[in-house]
Symmetry: C2
Subunit: 492 residues, 2 copies
Amino acid sequence: MSNNLTSRKEDYSKWYNDIVKKAGLAENSEVRGCMVIKPYGFALWENMRDVLDRMFKETGHQNAYFPLFIPKSFLSKEAAHVEGFAKECAVVTHYRLKNDPNGGGVIVDPEAKLEEELIVRPTSETIIWSTYKNWIQSYRDLPLLINQWANVVRWEMRTRLFLRTAEFLWQEGHTAHATKEEAVAETEQMLEVYAKFAEEYMAMPVIRGVKTASERFAGAEETYCIEAMMQDGKALQAGTSHFLGQNFAKAFDVKFADKDNKMEYVWATSWGVSTRLIGALIMAHSDDEGLVMPPRIAPLQVVIVPIYNKDAEARQKIDNTAADIMRALRAKGISVKFDNDDTTRPGWKFAEHELRGVPVRIALGARDLENNQVEVARRDTKEKASYQLDGLTDAVAQLLDDIQQNLYNRALQFRAEHTTKVDSWDEFVKVLDEKGGFVAAHWDGTPETEEQIKEKTKATIRCIPLNNEQEAGVCILTGKPSIQRVLFARAY
Amino acid sequence: MSNNLTSRKEDYSKWYNDIVKKAGLAENSEVRGCMVIKPYGFALWENMRDVLDRMFKETGHQNAYFPLFIPKSFLSKEAAHVEGFAKECAVVTHYRLKNDPNGGGVIVDPEAKLEEELIVRPTSETIIWSTYKNWIQSYRDLPLLINQWANVVRWEMRTRLFLRTAEFLWQEGHTAHATKEEAVAETEQMLEVYAKFAEEYMAMPVIRGVKTASERFAGAEETYCIEAMMQDGKALQAGTSHFLGQNFAKAFDVKFADKDNKMEYVWATSWGVSTRLIGALIMAHSDDEGLVMPPRIAPLQVVIVPIYNKDAEARQKIDNTAADIMRALRAKGISVKFDNDDTTRPGWKFAEHELRGVPVRIALGARDLENNQVEVARRDTKEKASYQLDGLTDAVAQLLDDIQQNLYNRALQFRAEHTTKVDSWDEFVKVLDEKGGFVAAHWDGTPETEEQIKEKTKATIRCIPLNNEQEAGVCILTGKPSIQRVLFARAY
């Protein structure tokens, strides 16, 4: 039984699109650049969201909701921000349609033109800081720790499902602090929350680092990031946390009275992850048979497939055993489905659940049951084994943990094998072209050199890792002195 | 300690706005008609959403996500729908801003005009049914039971926080069925889910009914609704469930092959509730001291306020007891906060938690503790009583149940007192003007009469109750024959 997926080797990009579509995660909509997230994809996002939301609340954050629209003039208030975000965005200019008096159907009513155009939020710093101005008067109002789950729109010209879409779902944290130190600590704390989520739930190892000045968020003083390695050797930025300094407080005049009643500008952070994480998840773990879901965030952890024969009594026994297994697994908090659909055969079901990446499959046949056994298959390695019914629940729970750990280890090993120290330009280009992955190389620290390297090779500096080893060297391109290696890669 | 709220008697509308703002639920944003949902208001919405989401999943629905934008031409495909929704909406006409070459800041780039304008979704039937066309081929693909949690925009001219805002949050279910009977059963099932949620969680009794033809959703063949009664005697539509017939299937050409391989149009339903429910919740239960939250959806169910004196030992004992009480309540699934903020006095805290509607307040003072007692106050009746520490957890759990039940009973009694049968026009007008509430009266069944009654009195037919008693009579306005009474009211 084949899922008719393009293989990774054949066409990595097509393989990715095939999985997204055939596993029922998402599809392109009839609106340019916007996707439809299908039920299976949305169930995955819900699981990711629920874990992150709990982590945010455990670190003292509350959710709120701010308007979808941002007045055009707000974008202009922070000089760097407008450069970064005012370009490709959806602009609302009118608030009414009417019937064409000339019979041309429904048209925009020219009389319903907005005095000031509204931008569909590409990110919400401006609307939120214009609101915070009224919420913050004194040090007693700080810190203000707020998160929003929302849709945002960036008018991307070239889109790919989950990785880059005009509309996407995300969360954006926006916090306000009395001191620089507190704001920096918050920025770093949230980076660590993201890293922990990526590693412990998505089984995806990440490098924690900071961006170079030219890769910073528009309006940030420092952008922290987590960077992951995909199976094609390209990097993917999986989350960012920004220290915004007092830039937005100054742009929106947000001051607070400190304990000595002195007025000071507020310090800010913002941080976000999006449905892009689903793209990362797919490319980190999946194979030529389809998705591979890490058990801790899989929408479905275990599927039970009955292997019926014509014997009604045996069938009844299979159904009863399945019911027992399901009850026991659910009592342990494991999600499980009994796929007893009569219209498809077991082989078809096996392929379907492999395509959808269900971590564990249990097959129940009459002969196995006579021996008090079931056949258990794990999705990550595709190994099959007979398990005793007695103790099955604990064994399955253990297997799910093993799969989670194995996926992480496998990805970690892949990354280690695809991280290369290079000391010359020729070697740099060779590694990028032939092997891919992260390339740790010396750079002279100037944006000009960074830009030249990008133009010549399409590789960007993914990050300067946190606690980076300081090591004197010379820039691979210019030969000028350098104090440390930085991580280059081609990236999504 | 006063919360400085306007009283209901003085100015009901101002009382409502005062509560929304002072209790920290929401505020107007700088974007016309759009609100900011503040953390306390959003926590309430999260609780409501989580309960509803569980009820939807228990009835077999899955969540998905469809685009924010709808191509203008899609709206025109269903004739009645476009009449209802194409009027006041946000229209995206451009996809880029640029720097004004004349130095006027950021302007809309005239070269980035969309070929076809996009509408910010006011509801998603059209974009979803254009998608369902590709998802439905055969009877095996049915029923398709999907829900979406989303923001929607309707360009309302007169807005009020939660009750009517340009942007609001909601859920919209969109289901597809093989037969009319199944679709009608789904419509009725979801109405019952909404009614159950309103009554059992919001403690708000509702009338289940159907709308008259002129009050139907644009594109529906039948609109079912739940109607609630507010404390000022006005009705509020709290949720709707629509049987859409084959209208959208025909508009978007969605057919399926039935078991005999005959192609048939698909039958549809849609149903939704929104953040408007929060407005209903406030107006159903709250009083002149502030919000009254039904325990089952309250963001915080119990608050503990310490009454410290200067004795450090007594203070320690209070803190220890509070920790014990919290642990025990949380183990029972009750949310609780220890408000030991040193910067405000107990009286201020009492008023604040009353304003925010926390169902139960426990005050812990040194003298009470000497007697192994605490003072427990319930928000709904404002009664206070001494409770023994021994058995406190069970007593508080019981009290929360009692409050939930009392709120429901109180609202039910209010509704009963404000439902009046009338048999003449003069009486009809008098009851509407002097007493308010639901007026059960005979109507001749024509849209013309319905419209005349609305023009004369501002009262609309809220619904024809399900299983309505059939009773011959004469229309209060025209004297023509009528087969049943319908429920009139002035409404939000």
